[in-house]
Every structure is written in structure tokens, then in C-alpha cells.
């Protein structure tokens, strides 16, 4: 440790005798890490793990692949196991606190006041009720091109089809919503539309005029999308930019 060139100057008091730390000198942080209680144990664990890791790597035939992504094993899976075991606990909690309902037995002759599928099909059910939007064609003498029901099925296909082609429309390296305000606002529009169309599917239970409800169903999503776009643009220009500057330096957007 001791450096001969400096030991003889030990008595200097003007401050010039201070030796700048070289690579061998432990920093204060390291010293602290190595000397006290739990942090010392941590340090020892890290050392041990580093050593064992090195041994394992040396004896392993695992070839690192050049994939620009986050490894599923062990990172993602261990993290996910920790989080999702909590979530599975939540399923048990919900199952024990809010057990499901069993209604009256099926009776074809008695139409119930509520005819609804489960909640996750509301959006599809709402699209089936879009009859009023089915255009009357002048060429066919005011007749509708297809039955209202068929129109609803087509609407479902259009929505699912649009979602399916999104990866072919939106390319590039942008990942965060702030990097792609347009597509993020399209997403917000879609989410809000899923909600409004679900509400529209329950139109007989909503205390609103059905024409007004239909208008709102199609007006609210673009408004929400526009707000999201404005917010994301502002964030991009503003403080998020500072936060991400390092990131942009590393991976400039195409």
C-alpha cells in the first residue's frame, strides 16, 4: 500500500502532499461498504456471486446471442414471478370476498330486463348496435346496403382488422408514448372508444337520449385523443426531454 515516494513527505502541511487516489485505493463508499454490518455482508455476497458467476460462465457452453432485447430468463421471469404471485393472491382474495351470482334458471318464455353478455364483450355488443350509422344508399333507392346486423359484424371485423395491422403501419424505434405522440393518442382514442361503445351497448339502461349517446360515443374519443396528443407533445418539449436526454443520446430516434 505505502508508496515510498510519498512517505518521506509525510510532514507537509500546505495541502500539496495529498495523494490523488489511484485505481487501487478504495473509495469512501467502498470502505463503508466493506466495514459495516449488513453492507459488509452484502459486499461479501456480491463477491461470492461474482466469483461463482465467473466459474459458471467459464465452464458453460452457453453462447450469448446478439439480441437487442431484455432476456426473458432469468430477469423477466423472476421479476414476474415475484409480482404475479402477489396478483394470484389477489385472485384468491377477490374469489373469497366477492363470490359470483347464480341467477334464475333459463326460461325461454321470459325475457329478462337485462340482456347483456359479460363485460369484456360489451364493446363488440355495442358495435352490433350501430344500425343507425348504416348508410342508406341513394342508388339502391334508399335501401340499406346490408342488414343492420351484418353491418355490426362488419364493424367488429374492421376494428379487429385495424388493430391487427398496426405493426405494419407504425414502424421505427420509438417506444415511449412521448416519442410517438400520434400513435399514443390513437391508442388513447381507441381505449376511450372501447369505453364509450361499451356504454352505448347498455343504451337502454343509460339515462340519456340514445341519439345524444350515439353522438357522444363518437365525439368523446377524438377529443380525448386530441387532449392526449397535446399533453404528450408538451411533455416531449418540456421536462421529459431533460429526463430522457441521456436516452436519446444513446439511441437517437430514426
Amino acid at each position: 500500500m505505502a508508496d515510498d515516494e510519498h512517505t518521506d513527505d509525510a510532514a507537509r502541511t500546505d495541502g500539496t502532499g495529498i495523494v490523488p487516489p489511484d485505481d487501487e485505493t478504495p473509495t469512501w463508499r467502498e470502505r463503508k461498504e466493506r466495514t459495516t454490518g449488513l453492507s459488509r455482508l452484502t459486499y461479501e455476497y456480491f463477491e461470492r456471486s461474482r466469483r461463482e458467476d465467473q466459474d459458471l460462465r467459464e465452464e458453460s457452453d452457453y453462447v450469448e446471442r446478439d439480441v437487442l432485447a431484455f432476456p426473458v430468463w432469468p430477469h423477466e421471469l423472476i421479476r414476474n414471478l415475484a409480482l404475479t404471485s402477489f396478483f394470484v393472491g389477489m385472485i384468491f382474495f377477490l374469489a373469497s370476498t366477492l363470490p359470483p351470482h347464480l341467477g334464475a334458471p333459463a326460461n325461454p318464455s321470459q325475457t329478462p330486463s337485462i340482456i347483456l353478455p359479460d363485460w369484456y364483450l360489451y364493446w363488440s355488443f355495442g358495435l352490433l348496435k350501430l344500425g343507425p350509422l348504416n348508410p342508406d344508399l341513394a342508388i339502391l333507392g334508399g335501401e340499406k346496403l346490408m342488414a343492420d346486423r351484418t353491418y355490426g359484424v362488419v364493424a367488429n371485423l374492421v376494428v379487429v382488422g385495424f388493430i391487427a395491422i398496426v405493426p405494419f403501419l407504425n414502424k421505427g424505434s420509438a417506444r415511449r408514448p412521448v416519442e410517438q405522440p400520434f400513435w399514443a393518442s390513437v391508442g388513447v382514442m381507441g381505449v376511450v372508444f372501447a369505453f364509450t361503445i361499451s356504454v352505448y351497448s347498455m343504451k337502454t339502461h343509460v339515462p340519456l337520449d340514445s341519439h345524444l349517446l350515439l353522438d357522444l360515443t363518437f365525439l368523446v374519443p377524438p377529443i380525448a385523443g386530441a387532449i392526449a396528443y397535446a399533453v404528450l407533445k408538451t411533455m416531449r418539449e418540456g421536462y421529459m426531454y431533460d429526463l430522457n436526454r441521456r436516452y436519446y443520446k444513446l439511441r437517437p430516434p430514426k
Binding site: 478504495p26 467502498e30 466493506r34 466495514t35 459495516t36 449488513l38 459488509r40 455482508l41
Partner: protein
């Protein structure tokens, strides 16, 4: 080790420290849970009228809970070498720095 105002601190070997942690925690958990079970049984889950409470059983429950806590607290005085009790007293030199 020594008696200061923060309580006694006994340094034990690492292996013994593990035993202390494992067994005292196990004992504490089991006896506290059993204590609550006993207390629940004695008081019919807190719904029994005061005169219906099985006093002996209730006392056993409280005693078990107290014992669990006591063992847990007592075990906290044992430390492995190198584990400082608090950050301020971590000034002692060590040979691996």
C-alpha cells in the same frame, strides 16, 4: 459486545446466528399464531359475552402471544461478527477493507 444504553449485544458465530434467526423467528411466529387461535377460541372470535369467556384459555392465548414477542425481542441481541448494531457505531476497523 458490551452493555450500553441500547441494550446488550452478543456476537455469535455466523452459523449460530443463522440458527438463532431461524428458530426464534419460527417459534415466535408459531406461538403468536397459536396464541391468537387460543384467544379466538376462548372468546368465540370476540363475540362471547364477558361472562362466557374461558379465562384460562384466554390467558393462555395472551401468554403465548407475549412469549412469542419476548423470544423475538430477546433473539435480536445476538449478532454475527461484523454486523454493527447501528450505523453510527460502525467506526471499528475491519481487516477486509
Amino acid at each position: 459486545m458490551g452493555d450500553d444504553e441500547r441494550g446488550r449485544d452478543v456476537v455469535v458465530p455466523d452459523r449460530l446466528y443463522k440458527s438463532v434467526t431461524v428458530f426464534s423467528t419460527l417459534f415466535a411466529v408459531v406461538s403468536v399464531v397459536l396464541g391468537f387461535v387460543a384467544l379466538d377460541t376462548a372468546t368465540n372470535a370476540g363475540r362471547a359475552a364477558p361472562e362466557d369467556v374461558n379465562v384460562a384459555f384466554a390467558a393462555l392465548g395472551v401468554g403465548l402471544i407475549a412469549a412469542g414477542g419476548l423470544v423475538y425481542a430477546f433473539s435480536s441481541r445476538f449478532r454475527a461478527s461484523g454486523m454493527a448494531k447501528d450505523k453510527d457505531s460502525g467506526d471499528e476497523p475491519s481487516d477486509n477493507g
